[in-house]
């Protein structure tokens, strides 16, 4: 009985030594942070991928829409850095502007604040740039060019290309895409 008890005690010592436990705990200690890192990377990548796909879709949608409208431009009525108004060849009016974090559209001839509705949300900023026939930048005065003002018509008539830059929030920063449109049916405003 005594012998057996001693034997028993020896076996227990052989099974779980302190060293083994330490190694196991150390391994778990190494493994857990490593796995956590890998998984957080995966999660982060997953998030990045979803965001990328989502903003790619949004870019495509908005740029497509604005390009299509600008291509139908007949006469340019308001040309400004952050808003534009023009009449199309089909007799429609298109006004685009930035408000809060939304790109807003109005298709009435006279647009009050209530007439605008969101075309896209979650937008960081937009920018309209105007170019002449040599693709040189046409300077837009503060407050924009108005077709109803005599002195602005000459400058508006010079505009041949219109660039729309869309800046979206992307991950921790922003990213931009732009479309340059040559509205070939644009008419000159008579002085």
């Amino acid at each position: 009985m005594m012998h057996l008890l001693r034997f028993d005690k020896n076996i227990r010592q052989k099974g779980f030594t302190l060293l083994e436990l330490v190694v196991v705990v150390a391994l778990i200690g190494i493994m857990v942070p490593a796995m956590a890192m890998i998984f957080s990377n995966i999660l982060e990548s997953n998030h990045k991928m979803r965001t990328t796909v989502a903003i790619t879709e949004q870019f495509d949608f908005v740029l497509d829409r604005v390009t299509e409208d600008l291509n139908a431009l007949d006469s340019l009525l308001i040309a400004d850095d952050t808003n534009i108004k023009f009449a199309t060849t089909t007799g429609q009016f298109v006004s685009l502007r930035m408000s809060d974090s939304s790109l807003e559209l109005c298709t009435d001839e006279d647009c009050d604040d209530g007439d605008f509705h969101d075309l896209a949300t979650g937008i960081s900023s937009i920018d309209f740039n105007y170019f002449d026939k040599n693709f040189m930048s046409v300077t837009i005065i503060p407050g924009g060019l108005l077709s109803s003002i005599e002195g602005h018509k000459e400058t508006i008539n010079k505009i041949k290309y219109i660039e729309f830059v869309l800046v979206l929030n992307y991950l921790d920063g922003t990213t931009a895409m732009a479309t340059v449109v040559f509205p070939e049916n644009k008419v000159d405003l008579l002085e």
Binding site: G15, E20, F39, D60, K158, Y161, F182, D188
Partner: protein
Amino acid sequence: MNKHKCTAGRSRAAGNLLIDLVIGVALLGLIAAMLAGTYSNLIQRSVDSFETTRATWMANSAMEVISGYPFADPVFVDGSIGVDGHESVMTTFDDIDDFDGYNFILESYPAYTAAAAVSWADISAEEIAEGADPKFFKRIMVTAQNDMLSNPVSLKTIMSAAGSGVGGGSQVIAEEELNNSFDTAQRIPRTSFYATENLDVGDDSYPWASINSNVSPGTDDDYYQFELQIGERLILDIDYGYDEDDVVDGVDILMRLYTSARVLLAWRDDDNDDQYGGEGSIDLKDPHLSIVAAYNGVYYAKVRSYQRDMGTNHYNPPTDEGNYVLNVTIVPTQASTGLGDD
């Protein structure tokens, strides 16, 4: 004995725990690494698709810029692809094929380049129908590239010499200052001339172009240059210039026509007959004049206020300023080429 066996079994089990764990960890690590690899591959694809979308929009933008230029060079009509004569930088380009070999850098697309290639359309590649004249079709290829993109984006289009706006300049033209001398005369390209309806033109069955302009200040001179072919009649008609009550904010015009050597060919102060003018002249003080081209080449028109022309004795400085419209008609001959309708 029985107990011994039992404890021996436990001993094996206890010893395996460590190895099992090591293998387990190794396996998990392997799986995780594979998962991460697959994921990073997916990420790369989504980044690629994003960059591709962006490159496509950039190529599209470059394509739009090119398509805004006339189909053929108005001056160098030999039909060669590439830049002609002095066209060394983009601001001097005047037709589509000048962009052959040009690299676009757009401010809104940093780190991207879009290379343009222009050539005649290829019948054998079925780009245009068999039997069509390839000289009427140009192929534009724009290839957008960026370091992060595994495959560049190429867009291709075929431009035709026919079609609205593509073959020519715009028919209604705004005056471009400074055009106050022969050297800075505003060029009105032949491709701007079309025969469309215009009551202000004497006979709108002939190709015409219309220039919206003004004299401002009173000392302003406006020079324009036209390219004529021998035998063609040029008609210059001032409209909406002078009116007594000044309701159109016009100006009394005096107009001269010069040869390419800047020799005076003709001048007119007032309207003497109604043969060519059509409507649009509110007062007989709106002149028009007409000549037949005696040579192939450039002709200059010089437009200024009548008051300015009277010299400093009468009006110093001249005060009459305002808007006018210059309607220009070219009556073509059988041999005429290069007008917007061609």
